[in-house]
């Protein structure tokens, strides 16, 4: 079982059954009573097969691994399966059967929505076909007007079909914790429409075996019109309304302070959360836990403190805060040179990184000079003295990888990036760069700067588990001053909402002839 739980549909089809939503809600309520708007207990279940990474690729633990692939030829694995932390234990011991409904939960909504959509589309055709099938002889003949209506009906159905395909038939990107209000509204609307049309049809047409076929065809056409209008409503509610920016979201990662600002429109909290996460994967540099802490040598000096003695006081219980405050104040007043150490340590690290980077760049440049692309018109063997063997990109990559491997490994280790790049991935990337005629600098851009998280994801169809933590109900709309956070296993993103300012735009007309200038001098001359 994979350690990732699932995302399910965010904005895909409009026509989804309300009943599916109710089922899902009921099941959610039964599952855990303690769940309210903040999804506290909803961590993913982790059942590990031995040898697989304990955590997913985004969160890394432990950087003391065997990555001597520069010297030897062992292939590095992602993480070492040695210790299970406390969090993993609590996760493993959770309710195991949560995993299987989560898996098909992702497709349950779309499937039921598809059923309702299909039903709604078939209904007009059924309205037309049923009288023909059941009491064909008793129908009034209707030639030209009906055929005109047939044509319009056909085209409207075609438009409906195409726009449904274009707008709603998309693979879902996210599972929301609460149901999506607009989508449920639209599902309810569709259901209501279709049900009431069927009701009317059943009572007024099927029962008395209505003979006015033109009326029936007109009725079917009006249903198709109504469906088109519902689709327009769906388009506006689901796709268009949130496009005009109204709020500015500040997203800060709580571990290292990486932050971004985004402009969004009117969304509910859960939709905004999904939107932020989509931007997170491509904007934020990947979270590297190894880069976080100050070296222990700097911080450990603060531990040695003062001993505080109580003289003549009977109750020591309410003096503890006073004690600790006194200790903190004394520690602050003490002359503290740890900032010096920090500064020099940083400078030293920078210098080391730059030196390694220089070596790496030179090694890569040199390696790239060893191969060149074979042009089509060149013969493969130029002269009998220097026969050249023709290689495909993979072999070429492996050939030139060896001289740069050591420099690359040292650089990655200094910048603590070695968990993200295995030897295999580097050779793949090298092959990719060679195929596309990239220069050494283009090859190196992937390693010199930490890229967005999406760059390091393995192809994974299971999805990522995020927890939305919020004090407001997550279907509430965004407004000024709202704060919610998106939690993952070892870091979280804190999102703050502010209004975009209201702009008063004035106008000022400048006559093009009014641009005149004089010299502005202030000379001083000595006489």
């Amino acid at each position: 079982m994979d350690n990732e739980s699932t995302y399910s549909g965010y904005s895909y089809k409009s026509s989804h059954s309300r009943s599916s939503r109710k089922h899902r809600e009921r099941r959610d309520r039964h599952r855990s009573k303690s769940r309210d708007s903040s999804v506290r207990g909803d961590k993913s279940v982790t059942i590990q097969a031995p040898g697989e990474p304990l955590l997913d690729a985004e969160s890394t633990r432990g950087d003391d691994r065997d990555d001597n692939w520069g010297e030897t030829t062992t292939v590095v694995t992602g993480t070492s399966v040695d210790s299970i932390s406390n969090e993993d234990l609590t996760r493993v011991s959770k309710d195991l059967e949560e995993s299987s409904p989560l898996e098909c939960r992702r497709f349950l909504g779309p499937a039921l929505g598809a059923v309702l959509g299909l039903f709604a589309l078939i209904t007009p055709l059924a309205f037309l076909a049923l009288p023909q099938l059941l009491w064909r002889d008793a129908l009034d003949p209707c030639a030209t007007p009906c055929e005109g209506l047939y044509v319009s009906l056909a085209f409207k159905l075609l438009v409906l079909l195409i726009s449904t395909w274009a707008l709603f038939l998309r693979p879902p990107r996210a599972t929301l914790p609460r149901f999506f209000v607009f989508r449920c509204l639209l599902l309810a609307l569709v259901f209501l429409f279709v049900a009431s049309y069927w009701l009317f049809y059943g009572v007024r047409v099927l029962e008395p075996r209505e003979r006015d076929y033109r009326g029936i065809v007109g009725y079917a056409a009006s249903l198709v019109d109504a469906l088109l209008f519902i689709q327009y409503l769906a388009l506006v509610l689901l796709e268009v309304r949130h496009l005009q920016p109204a709020f500015c979201l500040k997203v800060v990662r709580n571990t290292d302070g990486a932050s971004h600002f985004y402009n969004v429109g009117h969304l509910s909290i859960q939709r905004a959360a999904v939107w932020v996460l989509e931007q997170y994967y491509s904007d934020f540099p990947v979270y590297n836990p190894a880069l976080l802490n100050l070296p222990k040598s700097i911080l450990s000096r603060k531990i040695s403190g003062f001993k505080v003695y109580n003289l003549g006081e009977d109750n020591s219980t309410n003096n503890s805060t006073g004690q600790s405050r006194a200790m903190i104040a004394a520690a602050a007043r003490r002359r503290d040179n740890s900032h010096n150490e920090y500064y020099y340590e940083e400078a030293e690290l920078d210098r080391r990184i730059r030196k390694r980077k220089a070596r790496l760049v030179v090694a890569v440049e040199e390696a790239f000079t060893h191969i060149k692309r074979l042009q089509d018109n060149e013969p493969a063997t130029s002269s009998p003295k220097r026969p050249r063997e023709v290689m495909d990109p993979r072999e070429a990559a492996q050939a030139i990888f060896a001289p740069m491997a050591r420099a690359m490994q040292k650089y990655l280790r200094t910048t603590r990036q070695q968990p993200y790049h295995s030897m295999e991935s580097i050779i793949n990337h090298l092959q990719f760069c060679i195929t596309h005629n990239m220069t050494p600098k283009a090859f190196l851009e992937r390693y010199l700067t930490p890229g967005p998280t999406l760059q390091y994801q393995k192809e994974n169809s299971r999805g990522r588990q995020w927890t939305l933590v919020s004090e407001e109900p997550v279907t509430a709309a965004l407004r000024q001053g709202l704060v919610f956070s998106l939690r993952r296993l070892d870091f979280s993103l804190v999102v703050t909402v502010t209004n975009l300012p209201f702009l008063r735009l004035g106008e000022e007309f400048i006559d093009p002839k009014s641009h005149k200038f004089v010299m502005r001098l202030q000379s001083e001359t000595s006489v």
Binding site: M519, R520, L521, Q522, S523, E524, T525, S526, V527
Partner: protein, 127 residues
């Protein structure tokens, strides 16, 4: 010390006579001037009225002829050897002061303290 257009300019002036000093075949007076009708009057630190485009003394060098004669920094030069200095460009002022064939320049300068001194002394006299 600004002027009202169309009205004559009145000021209390002091007559200062400076002997030019010969220095490496230049004749120097030992002070610097600023201002002029082609300059920006707002940047003049010595004028009371920031629209005054007159010629002001911006620096007096130590021990030079100007200091010996009693010229002070911030003085406004009204006349040089009879030539008017209230409505001249900066370059014209410089030329009037540095004529090679003149050994002496007689300046009429005004400053605020002169004005105050006269007013003060006038108010002491009973009418």
């Amino acid at each position: 010390m600004s002027f009202v257009p169309g009205q004559p300019v009145t000021a209390v002036v002091q007559r200062i006579e400076i002997q030019k000093l010969r220095q490496n075949d230049h004749l120097i007076l030992g002070f610097s001037i600023g201002g002029g009708i082609d300059q920006d009057p707002g940047q003049n630190p010595f004028s009371e009225d920031k629209t005054d485009k007159g010629i002001y003394v911006t620096r007096v060098s130590e021990g030079g002829p100007a200091e010996l004669a009693g010229l002070q920094i911030g003085d406004k030069i009204m006349q040089v050897n009879g030539w008017d200095m209230t409505m001249v460009t900066h370059d014209q002022a410089r030329k009037r002061l540095t004529k090679k064939n003149e050994q002496v320049v007689r300046l009429l300068v005004t400053r605020k303290s002169l004005e105050d001194a006269v007013r003060h002394s006038m108010s002491n006299y009973p009418k």
